[in-house]
Subunit: 335 residues, 2 copies
DNA sequence: AGCGCTCCCGTGAGCGCTCACGGGACTGCC
DNA sequence: GGCAGTCCCGTGAGCGCTCACGGGAGCGCT
């Protein structure tokens, strides 16, 4: 591959005009050659193509996009690509977008609020709409997304934006009911620890626990990784050795807890029942298979794309009541 | 073939001029208001902002990109977002791209060659360069990527494009050597089955087996999922009940085999040793932890981005010998 | 010659936006 | 009054490309 190495000089962008000049034809002829249009002699076409290659010409997608504005690009902002839950959502969104012929740009904020803003700033001039998990204040969000459709996922507070609510109340209630029915009374929770305030999933847990008349104070924050889940379980069992069941913020933490339980010689589910949240496909691969409050990630992705479509078309958006994905207890081996 | 179907269905696009007219100011003032520029009265600014919101104005990212061409977007094409290996690579590429201030657009082809072409067609006018896994003929590839830098991953044949080679020969050799040292002589393989020809990883396996003087004919094709791995193991053990160790095309298949072995009452590694390929983080979560020929996905992603950078700048590209990621045997519980 | 037709190719216009510049209105100060 | 300075705001130009036209050249036919 031979490219003109711009030695020292500013590598001035090569435009269609440079190619035209080099091939001794007009812009339009170059355009015709590159786009496989009709009205062009095959010899001329080859000459243009050669000239373009020799110059290392790359058409500007902006200029092209400007004139024929037929592409829609959605920005998908997620906290962590390595967390399977988000990749499941991303895959679902990608699939839903594909049926519309839309592009999806994926961004990873690393679960840090400051990255969110940076990403948002960049994104705002790159996409036509944004779908994502955001933990930053709503004001900041609005500032960077002026006039752009935004669909939030899993944000609980009432908001000016469209938000797909994840409602796990019933699912968590069912999970606790299941544990209680199995005879458990000392149920702990491994929560998300990076947020200052307790998570909504934790609230669901305490509510469910209260409904069953059991204590819900045995909570330990966990890093959003399997190792974090393991460490948190160790801490929890250290503080409350009589715990016989744990509910976790998500499946990754649960899987770490599963592993840690094995290391501690606790048989799951006999000595320790574990129930996760998310319902990852991954949960079926571990031993024992994970019981979890499962979310339909495909529906989640599809809903988000659907709502974006409505916002973009200026049509009637889906109401908040329709923008809900409900967690459902899926029983398996671990509880 | 997926073509960009008529995406936006708005009757008429609202431009900056419409907002200007509506607010009774000039284009430039609108621009100033929207971009938080200085030379504007705060009252005017608010009036413009209100007008923009009332009209539902969204700036064109193409026009904006045209005039200040400072954004670089890389297209990352992977076969399956739900396979953790690819998300690890994607995460690595995203991270490497971020340090350069680049965007990454992720595409999922579903491991189907026809999707690759459709994706390529769409992508070619959307990104500045392409990184990806492609199984389609090179000619097709070139046709859709005219003049655009392309970096392939894991393609073995010599190619006109830059390609990052995955070299597992030594790693697989070490894996087989390890199994032989443990006393195994009947080693089977669970290969990838969707390609017509046998995989390169299979060749590495037969070569390594030959070097150790053991038979390598016990091969079963597997679907690229855990279930596929399980089914393939069952088939393999049905055909060759004396097999005591298996090497798999990748970790997902290996994890499925692990689970199936447990169901069949075979203890791993005592009754059946399992060695995977890829070295997924996921491998550490299953029981027993997976022994695998590990690839450095971060290096893979970083290399790809680095090469793209060199191709784009017109500078000297990395040579084929530098574009290699080598698999390395990482011992763990399963073998 | 004149006409119509096909095959190529070029020219003007414009997509929607930002940048550089110019300029009016108003202030303060000599 | 004159001048500089500040604060706003508007105008022309142009980013790189494609689309809609127009038009020359060559052909065959009347």
């Amino acid at each position: 591959m031979v490219l003109p190495s711009a030695a020292g000089t500013e590598p001035r962008k090569i435009t269609i005009n440079d190619v035209a000049k080099s091939a001794g034809v007009s812009r339009q002829t170059v355009s015709r050659a590159l786009n496989d249009k009709d009205e062009i002699d095959s010899d001329t076409k080859q000459r243009v193509l050669d000239a373009a290659r020799a110059l290392g010409y790359r058409p500007s997608r902006f200029a092209r996009g400007l004139v024929r504005q037929d592409t829609m690009t959605i920005g998908l902002v997620i906290p962590d690509l390595l967390n399977p839950f988000f990749t499941e959502v991303a895959a679902a969104a990608l699939e839903a977008a594909r049926t519309r012929g839309w592009q999806v740009v994926v961004y990873d904020t690393g679960d840090r609020a400051e990255e969110e803003l940076g990403t948002l700033q960049v994104i705002s001039s790159q996409v036509d709409a944004v779908i994502g998990y955001f933990s930053c204040p709503e004001g900041e969000l609005e500032k960077f997304t002026r006039g752009m459709p935004v669909v939030l996922i899993g944000r609980e507070q009432r908001t000016r934006f469209s938000a797909i609510r994840i409602d796990g109340a019933a699912g968590v209630h069912a999970a606790v009911a299941h544990l209680v029915a199995q005879g458990h009374t000392r149920i702990g929770m491994l929560d998300h620890h990076t947020r200052a305030e307790p998570s909504v999933r934790h609230e669901w847990f305490t509510t469910a626990a209260a409904a069953h008349g059991i204590e819900a104070g045995m909570v330990v924050g966990a890093d959003q990784t399997a190792d974090g889940g393991g460490a948190a379980l160790r801490t929890l069992l250290g503080e409350h050795p009589d715990v016989t069941a744990v509910f976790t913020f998500n499946d990754i933490i649960a899987i770490g807890a599963l592993r840690e339980a094995r290391r501690l010689g606790r048989n799951v589910p006999r000595d320790l029942a574990v129930i996760g949240f998310d319902g990852l496909q991954l949960g079926a691969l571990v031993e024992p298979p994970l019981t979890s409050v499962a979310l339909d990630t495909r529906q989640l992705g599809a809903l988000a794309i659907e709502q974006v479509a409505r916002l973009l078309s200026g049509g009637e958006a889906l109401a908040a009541d329709d923008l809900v994905v409900r967690g459902e207890l899926r029983l398996s081996g671990s509880a």
